[in-house]
Amino acid sequence: MKFTWFHLMPWPHMPDDFREKHRSVWVDLPSKMYEPERGHGIYHQYLDQLEFAESVGFDGIGVNEHHANAYGLMPSPNIMAATLTRRTSKAALVVLGNSIALYNPPLRVAEEFAMLDVLSGGRLVAGFPVGTSMDTNYAYGTIPALTREKYAEAHDLIRKAWAADEPFAFNGRYTKLRYVNCWPKPIQRPAPPIFIPGGGSVETYDFCLDNTYSYSYLSYSGYLRAKLLMEGYWKRVSERKADESPYRAGFAQVICVADTDAEAERLYGPHVNYFYNRCLHVYPGFADAPGYRTIKTIQTGALSQFTQAAARDYPSMTWKDLVDGRYIIAGSPETVRQQMEELIKSLRVGNVFCLMHIGDMPDDKVRHSTKLFAEKVMPHLRNLWPDWNNHDDRFWVHPMNERVSLKVAAE
């Protein structure tokens, strides 16, 4: 198993009456709510937490990209990952990812990911999301019905740029470059391991299988509701006669660990409430711009989780509802271990993206929960895929052998 400690970097100071005063946490929330001087400390605290996760033994540390979003303050995850290359040495840097349809030219992603891979000595996991409709269409203005075509072309360009040893011309519909010449190039050849966040479309299953990419379902609604979608993926894997390596798949899960189940509710209840009721308060009109999803995907009923979230009644859900419905995995180390094992086996995933900073959780609680998970849960989950020797070379990083030792200037 590979465990990645994943940060969303939410703004932790949304007021109590947030839901009443604002229709959405995303796209049109006035940025006057953001206070840059407070943001300074928050960014550094969040980066410290990612570094802490490496120190207690997580395999990866993860960041992602969002725009105009108060629960995801990383318009550029690459900037965050760059700081982490200097202060970590073992963990994979999981950038999940860069919304490649948004970069102009998308060659920028090939270059920046190559920089990160070189800086980190070959520790980059490169994520290529299509991006949510909120980010891609509403915040960044990409035409919904052309988003996927643009994405596919960007992917093609990036892979060619990494593979080529000589400059070449690229005549795409959306990008035309006379000289594609990617300096630097990544350490990991032909490319870093690539993870694709998906939301249930068959096209994305096939895209992952065609290219040997790991399919990552980044949900906030827990593993029970993910079962149907992941079964669809594994069915496709079997139809395509691909091997069933669990590392072909990953899942994101909100996790809280305390000494006892009761203690977990006491410690984390308010922050979980902040996350589900403020961070996920998205105006349904922004969830799915018409044309963003293919007709086929809509007809299969795979609604975006934000459309579902809007339909779901988070405000009326109690801690017990969230725990019993397994939206969150929370409780004593033994409770969390049992449920994590159920998650891993039932979804057949080799990657788990652990969401352990939740909403407005203060630093001491984040570290407490993280440490308990690393010490008392993770060791018991390490060997759940013995048939695969608990590792699949195709879906994990290949750091170079002799890396330079970093000296921090102040020391």
């Binding site: 269409n137 035409i143 919904p144 019905a145 009109g285 711009a289 018409p290 044309g291 007709i295």
Partner: protein, 260 residues
């Protein structure tokens, strides 16, 4: 109203053509919402004209939307359809997005479009008068945006179907994704694809019609179109919103008859 189909070469796109009435030829290009059920404007125009109303790819039963990506594609598609229909010097009427397409046709092929009627057309953008973002609207918000009398408008839009009904909503989702997915190619995120710099080319005799109560594309845009098109006249219709033709079909028919 009858439907027939036209297959375009070489794309193979199959285009649904709604036809009604007798008289002089009138080409009607719908807005981003497509035709309304028993479209009141088409019905009114058909009392005096032979109305020919093609549906854009992605609308109704028309196909071929994947091959139409930008404004030039849409304009040339519409000119191809016009040519294939073999109409005699038709009045080209376009509503909202259809007005934007009609204006583009008249600017690009100004010898072929000689009579033009723009009903609250899209295509311009004034910073001081932003046009509402139709793409992020929920179904229940649309009647208020499209009609002066939103209750009557809701009935027209749905022919009385309950908009809260899950089955209706599911169908709506698919239909809406096809239609607005296509519309987004020329309207998202800002409904401006450079028409302003081409309007000077329009030589057609042009009637511009606006609902006085239009809250989607405010009536001030009527003045901007009027200023930019040399042989044009602007008429404002009282007690009408953005769907001016559907809300006041008789009044719109009358101004068209008076002008052409």
């Amino acid at each position: 109203m009858k439907s027939r189909f036209l297959t375009l070469k070489p794309s193979g796109a199959r285009i649904q053509i709604v036809e009604a009435g007798k008289g002089k030829d009138l080409l009607y290009l719908h807005g981003a919402g497509g035709h309304m059920p028993n479209d009141p404007l088409i019905a009114a125009l058909a009392s005096k004209y032979r109305v020919v109303a093609p549906l854009l790819p992605g609308y109704g039963q028309s196909t071929g939307e994947d091959g139409v990506r930008d404004m030039l594609d849409v304009t040339l598609h519409a000119l191809d359809v016009l040519e294939a229909l073999n109409l005699k010097k038709p009045i080209v009427v376009g509503h909202s997005m259809g007005g934007m397409v009609a204006a583009e046709m008249a600017a690009i092929a100004h010898t072929e479009v000689t009579k033009l009627c723009l009903l609250a057309p899209a295509g311009l953008w004034l910073d001081d008068h932003p046009i509402a973002d139709i793409f992020s609207k929920l179904p229940y918000e649309l009647p208020g945006l499209l009609f002066h009398d939103s209750k009557a408008g809701q009935k027209l839009l749905t022919s009385g179907v309950n908009m809260e009904d899950p089955e209706f909503l599911n169908e709506f989702l698919v239909m809406n994704a096809r239609r607005l997915g296509m519309a987004g190619k020329i309207l998202f995120p800002i409904p401006d694809r450079g028409l302003a710099q081409r309007l000077y080319r329009i030589t057609a005799k042009t009637l511009i019609v606006w609902g006085r109560e239009d809250v989607l594309i405010p009536p001030v845009y009527g003045d901007a179109f009027k200023r930019a098109i040399s042989k044009s006249r602007l008429v404002r219709i009282a007690k009408a919103g953005h769907a001016v033709g559907q809300e006041r079909p008789a009044a719109v028919l009358k101004v068209i008859r008076d002008f052409f």
